[in-house]
Amino acid sequence: MNVTTNAARLVRQVLAGEVWPALADRHAYRVGPDGQPFLLPGMGGVTLGVHCGDPATGYASDHLEPGASVRHRDSGANMALQFLTCVGNEVRVASGPAAGAVGHVIGQHAYVLADFAEAAAADLTAGDAVTVLALGQGLALAEHPAVVVKNLDPGLLARMPGGSRPDGRLEVHVAARVPAEAIGAGAGMVSEYANTDLMGAYQGLGEDLSLGLEGLRIGDVVALADADHRYGRGYRAGYLTIGVISTGQCMLFGHGPGPSTLLSGPAEAFCLVDDPDANLASWLHPQAAVAEPGGERPGAAIPGRAR
């Protein structure tokens, strides 16, 4: 993105995390929109076969978290991991048979979500240690003071299309536009943690549930209408939030594919360009990020400053 930032002044931290197991309780079932009981995988552990660029919906899954779901055992250290980790940050596997594999953060969902190439993900499991190079909180756009940046690695920002326009607006390419009616669970939470579930994307269920969002893909950059995520997540007419779809199919009612927050500000500060290629897969394809142990760190080539 062609934009002046303070990326050179940001602090990079090395954080430890652990691939977290999927969790269940002895009652097993949860309840879908029409009262249907379900037991479906998706949260926690390592979810295989779904990566950035793949459809977000259409799976027999609930809260599908592509790739590895990562936490820290200590509650305070875990919140630091969740708050400081940004979309686009490099994640390196630090133990187990996949040690040395490199992936990227695609979002937060009360877990840090890290997408790896399928071959690396196949060797990962719960308990494996990962190292996150956290960078991005505090990122600011000098020419766009009304736009708040959150959870966004400056290297990813540099690779995204768009940027400052002569009319003073920030051009952002988006794969989908989301109406305010779609905002589900996550409203009222801080915007550095978990994500905003989008309703209206229950593929295969009733038309009265649909808001036309069944075509979302994992990694899509989306625009949320009338959403102000500058200081948390809330409705505010005339504001706009840009996010990246980091989770997929849900059966739990009031939930759905969810964007992690990247940018938020008054709608007039943005110029949206509809672009089906506005997806993390265009800039962070995990196939290109596989590195041998001890090899050059792929992220080192990402510029910290766009111009």
Binding site: V31, E181, I183, D208, L209, L211, Y231, G234, F253
Partner: protein, 299 residues
């Protein structure tokens, strides 16, 4: 026919009698982390006051915007030290359930459940102002919980009722159809206002038997809104978690006041949810009378 309509026949048996259970609640003390500050919707730090615990000087019929509070409720919030027991307390307690103080200086004082709050779970209870001034955090309060599973005769089959003491239904502005109205006649509910689903905030995606639904109505709001008012939210289905369903409506009772937090605001405890054709709402912004202190003998 939609999937929701097909499933409506499962919304609950009507001939079964509701069961009452005595539960123990403990008067809450508000809790903070290491920092006193929260950040409001405009980015300003503030110290939340009234977010749980005992709130004095706030009653049913007062404006949700009247105090500089955060989720302030008209009375005392009850919790339980065991998380599972606390969830059960919030899930089973229903608006209108009688409560009685069992320990402390106000022992014997009677009150009533006015609503609930989600996440870890809280039950909001109203007491007389003199009794509220004598209780303290840690006092034990017995709750006679009754209402989940209740279905009044005549309630349209695809309308679900929840969080409501069976004895309170007749006193609220809820008109059930009778036999003369014929099959398929709707239930009609008087409300202060109807708001669109995009204003539904915290509580979306959560179970309506245990959570409230915050309405993102920043002061001064679209019009006066009082604690105890009934409010309708369009296109929200609250039967199985709270979520968007076009053509449905959910009605709740306002149980706590406004909040500076983004995504939060005055909260309703849902009592009725169903298709708009079967659950009709009649908004009366000036003359609406919802749940009042006189109705539950708090005055």
């Amino acid at each position: 026919m939609t999937a929701g309509q097909r499933a409506a026949g499962r919304s609950g048996p009507s001939a079964l009698r509701p069961v009452a259970v005595n539960l123990l609640g403990v008067v809450e003390q508000p809790a903070f982390g290491d920092s006193p500050y929260r950040v409001d919707r405009d980015g300003r730090p503030y110290v939340p006051v009234g977010d749980g615990g005992i709130v004095l000087g706030l009653q049913l019929g007062d404006s949700v915007y009247g105090l500089a509070g955060d989720h302030a409720a008209p009375g005392a919030c009850l919790v339980h030290p065991d998380p599972a027991s606390r969830h059960a307390l919030a899930s089973y307690a229903c608006i209108g359930n009688p409560v009685r103080v069992r320990t402390g200086a106000a022992v014997g004082a009677a009150g009533v459940v006015l609503g609930q709050r989600g996440e870890a779970g809280r039950v909001i209870v109203g007491l007389g102002q003199s009794d509220l001034g004598r209780i303290r955090p840690g006092d034990e309060v017995a709750v006679r919980a009754c209402g989940q599973g209740f279905r009044p005769p005549g309630l349209p089959a695809d309308v679900q009722i929840m969080n409501l003491d069976p004895a309170l239904l007749d006193r609220l502005p809820v008109q059930l159809p009778d036999e003369a109205d014929g099959a398929g006649a709707p239930v009609t509910v008087g409300v202060r206002m109807s708001v669109p689903s995009r204003l539904a905030g915290n509580g979306i995606g959560r179970p309506a038997v245990a959570w409230d639904l915050d309405l993102q109505l920043a002061p001064p709001g679209p019009g006066e809104l009082l604690l105890g008012d009934l409010v309708a939210v369009a296109d929200i289905d609250a039967r199985y978690n709270v979520g968007y369903r076009r053509g449905w409506v959910t009605v709740g009772v306002v149980g706590h006041g406004a909040s500076p937090l983004p995504g939060h605001g005055p909260g309703i405890t849902p009592i009725l949810t169903g298709p708009a054709a079967a659950l009709r709402v009649a908004a009366d912004p000036a003359g609406h009378v919802g749940l009042t202190g006189a109705m539950v003998q708090l005055q």
